[in-house]
């Protein structure tokens, strides 16, 4: 493919790069301060995954992507207030779902409450004969009140404060909101025309309170009371600051994973992976002799390079992802087996070593390409149709297949040619059984 010098330099660079990324000690030695770490999925480090269904029934098809993106942004702002490290909030391609991942979170109930509510705060004025009777409060029903065009979009800030002038030890929390310029104007107009009448405040179509307007209020802030305890007042303030959800959402799936299970699973997978790798190396060594031994060196290189790519991309590693990677070790050696079998045939038919090596690689290429391609096709389909868990598997398997083609075709080939240039070339029995040197 390339000149030999280029290939060798490429391999050396890849090997060094992989060593730096994989082993912290090496990174430190070359003077890099950055800590390269593999990104662990929820099932490995513990945490909660929440899947929400977005209700897009009232949204025009063209705006659905925006609405779902809006949901993601609002949830992102709300979750930030929780102080979770590295949360992940994503919408699905068809905009029907939003998946929230909260690593290491403890108080799940609070998170669910905070994320799930629409938090649409509205001021509504009374309609005589419906919500009002002789100018007095008459109905808690949302539809009996009339929209004034003043919503959460007109708030610039919401804060929890405590009712002033109370002598009681426990004072009641309330929420102070600041209007933007337009909000202030609307609020002044509305209060102006509703003097001595109640003005209703609804949260998600439920009445919070309906205080009486004493006079026209031309101020940039207002206070909302409504039987809050401190917790619910704080939650609402976070929600108001983060903005209302553009569409209602419902929780359809929840998965809390304790960190214990993840740690155990990782340990077991690593043991299984190393054992599998050793068994494959042993088999290759016994069955294919010298080339098999060299191929198992290339296999170690393969494992290092693949892990480095996982860290660099970065790929979020799940339990299924680890399985995909270990599986790809078994597949990575496939190409070598195809090549070595072909090489043996050539050697037995009396071809010289170097040309047997080259023919082995050239002739085996079409089988290697076609079989790996069919696996890549299924990996892509898995990625396209799959959810998070399956995608993790598809990605690691796919990367594994690609890297294995590279290592089999360039690394093993280069090592073999290199060794074939030494005095070992005369020991043909080391290269293949049944061939006399």
């Amino acid at each position: 493919m390339f000149g030999r010098i280029t290939t060798i330099s490429l391999i050396v660079i890849a090997l060094l790069g992989a060593a730096i990324v994989d082993f912290p000690a090496v990174a430190k030695f070359v003077g890099l301060k950055q800590d390269f770490k593999i990104r662990e999925g929820l099932d490995l480090q513990g945490g909660t995954q929440l899947v929400y269904q977005t209700d897009l029934s009232k949204v025009a098809a063209a705006d659905q992507a925006n609405a779902a993106q809006g949901v993601v942004e609002v949830i992102d702002r709300r979750v930030n207030a929780l102080g979770v490290t590295e949360p992940s909030i994503q919408k699905t391609r068809d905009n029907s779902r939003v998946i929230v991942e909260l690593p290491g979170i403890k108080n799940i109930d609070e998170a669910i409450k905070l994320i799930g509510e629409t938090a649409q705060l509205e001021f509504r004025e009374g309609i005589e004969g419906k919500s009002l009777k002789d100018g007095k409060f008459n109905s808690e029903n949302y539809d009996d009140w009339q929209d004034v065009g003043l919503t959460g979009a007109h708030f610039s800030k919401a804060e929890v404060q405590f009712k002033q002038g109370q002598t009681a030890v426990v004072s009641e929390p309330e929420i102070s909101i600041q209007f933007d310029a337009e909000g202030r104007k609307i609020f002044a107009d509305v209060t102006g025309r509703n003097v001595n009448k109640p003005l209703a405040i609804f949260l998600d179509k439920k009445l919070l309170s309906a205080p009486n307007v004493n006079e026209k209020i031309d101020s940039e802030s207002a206070v909302i009371t409504g039987n809050f305890d401190l917790k619910s007042a704080k939650t609402l303030a976070i929600q108001l600051n983060a903005g209302a959800l553009p569409v209602p959402i419902t929780l359809v799936s929840q998965n809390n994973i304790g960190a214990t299970l993840g740690t155990e699973a990782v340990q077991k997978s690593v043991v299984a992976g190393i054992l599998g790798l050793l068994l494959v190396m042993l088999f290759m060594w016994i069955y294919y002799r010298l080339p098999g031994f060299l191929a198992s060196l290339a296999l170690v290189f393969y494992a290092m390079l693949t892990i480095a790519i996982f860290i660099a991309v970065p790929v979020t590693l799940t339990l299924a992802g680890i399985a995909g990677f270990i599986l790809s070790i078994g597949m990575a050696i496939d190409a070598n087996i195809l090549i070595f079998e072909r090489m043996k045939e050539e050697l037995r038919s009396g071809a010289p070593l170097i040309s047997a090596i080259d023919t082995g690689f050239n002739r085996a290429w079409s089988s290697i390409r076609d079989s790996n391609f069919s696996s890549l096709i299924t990996a892509m389909i898995l990625y396209y149709f799959g959810s998070g868990l399956i995608r993790g598997f598809a990605v690691t398997l796919g990367i594994g297949i690609l890297v294995s083609m590279f290592t089999a075709l360039t690394v093993t080939h280069t090592i073999l040619r290199g060794v074939a240039g030494t005095s070992l070339k005369n020991k043909l029995g080391w290269w293949a059984g049944g061939v006399k040197g």
């Binding site: 799936s253 997978s269 599986l327 149709f385 399956i390 598997f393």
Partner: protein, 310 residues
């Protein structure tokens, strides 16, 4: 070695296996994972038996189920998970709050009760997952068929590349997939293996794997056809199988080594996943050697008989 000569035996054995598998598929009901059926799976640790303060004559499982019913209103099935200190409870979907209420009430009898994993999925998601899974399998088969037909487009007469693709995919679908589904029905019935996202992943991965060995054989067949020409097609097919049988078996063997390590050592979560892959790769290699190429030959013979009749 004459593999083609014994075609009837291979096809006979496989037909029996396929029929048995179909019987298993339709007699035994698969346990569906909660990602397919919806519902709740709650894994808990109950601590050491010496700490229990259970009411008289009540076993741990009875206690778990009774308190679960009282707190959540749902009937649960309780299963030991790995060790006697770990249990999995399954029921219809409950909320996080209901789960917490149950945990605190059940601690009266099991003071060290703690939650390890809690999954709750609404039933609406399930039906969609099943639909996607079936769609994915069909798309994968078509994609492999098209790719093989394309990859072997230069195959010389008397055969053609569509037959290469079609026989490879038939060996996959009619043989590997059905037998694996049959074996899994047994595993599900007797050992509680669940049909879930992981199983579908295993199935799709196998679709890619199983054609590997078929491709290796067909690749050699193509090479031999170009070298020798169309005469003695049967002999050429047999030679191609024999020449590639070692590498087919060895590539599978390395995978089997890895999968065996994962099945035995990899832990409970991925056990049935790796086990189905293990069964699948062995099936895939068997069908590549003993089913795909003989089918190709039978097809060829049928085409030629038709020509003679005309």
């Amino acid at each position: 070695m004459n593999i083609i000569k014994a075609t009837k035996i291979w096809l006979g054995v496989s037909s029996v296996l396929v029929v048995l598998s179909l019987v298993c598929i339709f007699t035994f009901r698969y346990h569906l994972g909660i990602d397919f059926s919806g519902g709740t799976a709650l894994e808990v640790e109950v601590g050491n038996a010496s700490t229990y303060q259970l009411p008289a004559d009540t076993s741990v499982s009875q206690y778990l189920i009774a308190t679960y019913r009282a707190s959540t209103g749902q009937e649960a099935v309780a299963q030991v998970a790995g060790s006697s200190e770990r249990w999995i409870l399954r029921s219809k979907s409950i909320t996080n709050e209901q789960k917490n209420a149950w945990l605190s009430s059940a601690r009266a009898g099991l003071p060290n009760l703690s939650e390890l994993q809690f999954s709750s999925v609404s039933p609406t998601i399930g039906s969609e997952v099943v639909r996607k899974a079936i769609l994915a399998i069909i798309v994968a088969m078509l994609a492999i068929l098209l790719y093989l037909a394309y990859a072997f487009r230069k195959v010389p007469r008397p055969t053609n590349s569509w037959r290469f693709g079609a026989t490879a995919v038939i060996a996959l679908l009619a043989h590997d997939v059905i037998i694996l589904l049959g074996v899994y029905a047994l595993l599900s019935h007797f050992f509680g293996a669940e049909v879930d996202n992981m199983f579908i992943t295993a199935l799709l991965t196998l679709l890619g794997f199983s054609v590997h060995d078929t491709i290796v054989t067909y690749d050699r067949l193509r090479e031999n056809l170009i070298k020798r020409g169309a005469v003695h097609f049967e002999q050429t097919v047999n030679d191609s199988i024999v020449e590639t049988i070692t590498r087919s078996i060895n590539t599978t063997f390395t995978l089997v080594l890895v999968l065996l390590a994962m099945t035995l050592m990899g832990g409970r979560t991925t056990f049935f996943f790796t086990l189905s892959l293990l069964i699948g790769v062995i099936l895939g290699t068997y069908s590549s050697i003993f089913i795909a190429s003989p089918l190709l030959l039978m097809w060829q013979n049928a085409v030629e008989r038709k020509k003679v009749v005309q």
